[in-house]
Symmetry: C2
Subunit: 283 residues, 2 copies
DNA sequence: TATTGTGAAGAGATTCACAGCC
DNA sequence: GGCTGTGAATCTCTTCACAATA
């Protein structure tokens, strides 16, 4: 402890943990809000609360960036905003294209928080010729035929895919071939991309399914069952805070659906984890 | 190895790791696709490829659910679809409300994959009186005043918030007070909720910022810099697969923005991680 | 022979707790 | 006295590698 500088591989190498990177935008948002209220400094405790994490984690995260705080005082808000922005690459301007201007694509194009933080919608692209030229969010939709030209002329390296699932893979290949190296994928499909290309995905139905899992567990707990059966990571069951009384029993779901119906090449079926079958039974 | 049953805390307790839960929907989607093509069985290797993970992880994940495979053969597709659905609680019907019917809310309401897997949009709610009664996705929008009534009458336990950031906290409190215990939050704000309520968030701008971070790093690597400087978790830099050539140099971003401008209670400023200041310099 | 299921090792992330500094 | 920065401990997740087995 405190014997200078030991961790961090060796020479330079930034090596910020991925988990930390994923939280930096959260801190940045909280800090921006403080900055707008002209708050000059903030402690790790306060900032952590605003960002919805605990203070030890926040301090550890910041320690990967450098020593930007003042002991006994806290962090200078403006300075930290700048440092995090720089670390995230937001001091640059990132032109972005959105491919697939349906409901979702249009919503994304209209989303304000987009432009605010270093990102700029350079073009909207759709495969439907009927869409071409129509203005969405004050910008004419362009046809997929010109995708490569648009990417190259605008120096786009980040693409957003909001097409139907069936088109996503092909769109990603064209984007990548034209020079895009980061993709934000809203289509409910797994993209296969070459090494060196980053893909992040946003999937409504996956998120809902994860919630349903936890919801089901909660329902099970009400009905007896050893209170000792939590998922490892505790989901996202948030810290206290506001809260208007925690509400009643949690509202039970409605009907059951789709029983097993052992069709197909039925071979398997062995042991479930243990005896306790919840809610719906297997067969 | 095969010496019976050692891990898992003790008595019953399901204890599926959160990371596993988060992947189950992915497996389910891949399996559903196989099922539609009437593929009877699948190996961990094939399924893993389709889901975009490696096979060891997949097998480990499935091992938490039970022994549903057949050595030398693979997994029965139909059976596994059912088991995962059950584990996720998708054999039930989950009524969901969407609050905030702007661009995004409307897009969500229209999103098909919603209804398909156990979820049903029970109501669309918006604070704008002008919206009330207007049909969106074939369903009349209802006014926020009736929120509590709607939640209770429909037994809703999952709420989706697609309001502006400013309204989200208050909406979440009303949802929770009315009985909702799981929230999917699209508003760019951290919700403070009481213990026992699960929140998952989807945030476009956070995802873009994470991509920008990796993008910036890639750009830096081109310009010399010890090739040994990866982020711990390797982001989402996907496995190989298709890929149309990995494209050119990756397109450099355009102008720089917003220098430090040391205003406010300027105190801090010490050491950055190490000497190498990239792109934009601090002061 | 092909493929699962899983201990054990390894890597990462979180939390603790306290020394160091303002 | 208050708060940061960080080693060390702990916990969780991933990967390895191979015995068990259809």
């Amino acid at each position: 402890m405190a014997t200078g500088r030991t961790h961090r591989p060796a020479t330079r190498s930034r090596g910020i943990p991925e988990a930390t990177v994923a939280r930096l935008p959260l801190y940045l948002r909280a800090l921006t809000a403080l900055s707008e209220r002209s708050v000059p400094t903030v402690s790790s405790e306060e900032l952590a609360a605003a960002a919805g994490v605990n203070s030890a984690k926040l301090r550890k995260d910041f320690s990967y960036l450098g020593s930007y705080g003042t002991r006994g005082v806290g962090y200078d808000v403006e300075y930290l905003v700048y440092q995090i922005s720089r670390e995230l690459g937001l001091t640059q301007d990132w032109p972005v294209v959105i491919v697939g201007i349906g409901n979702l694509g249009a919503a994304l194009a209209n989303y304000g928080g987009f432009a605010s933080r270093g990102f700029r919608v350079a073009a909207l692209i759709d495969a439907d010729p009927a869409m071409a030229g129509k203005p969405v969010a004050g910008m004419p939709v362009q046809h997929t035929d010109d995708l490569e030209k648009i990417i190259e002329e605008n120096g786009v390296s980040i693409g957003v895919i909001a097409t139907p699932a069936g088109a996503a893979q092909q769109v990603s290949e064209r984007l990548i071939a034209a020079g895009v190296t980061s993709i934000l994928n809203f289509a409910p499909t797994v993209l296969q991309v070459p090494e060196g290309v980053d893909v992040r995905k946003v999937d409504l139905s996956i998120e809902l399914q994860i919630l349903a899992f936890h919801e089901q567990r909660k329902a099970g707990e009400e009905t007896g069952a050893a209170a000792e059966a939590p998922v490892s990571g505790a989901g996202a069951s948030a810290a206290a805070g506001a809260g208007t009384g925690a509400g009643g029993t949690g509202a039970a779901p409605a009907a059951a659906v789709e029983p097993p119906a052992g069709r197909g090449a039925a071979t398997a079926r062995k042991n479930g984890p243990e005896g306790d079958v919840p809610a719906v039974m297997p067969a």
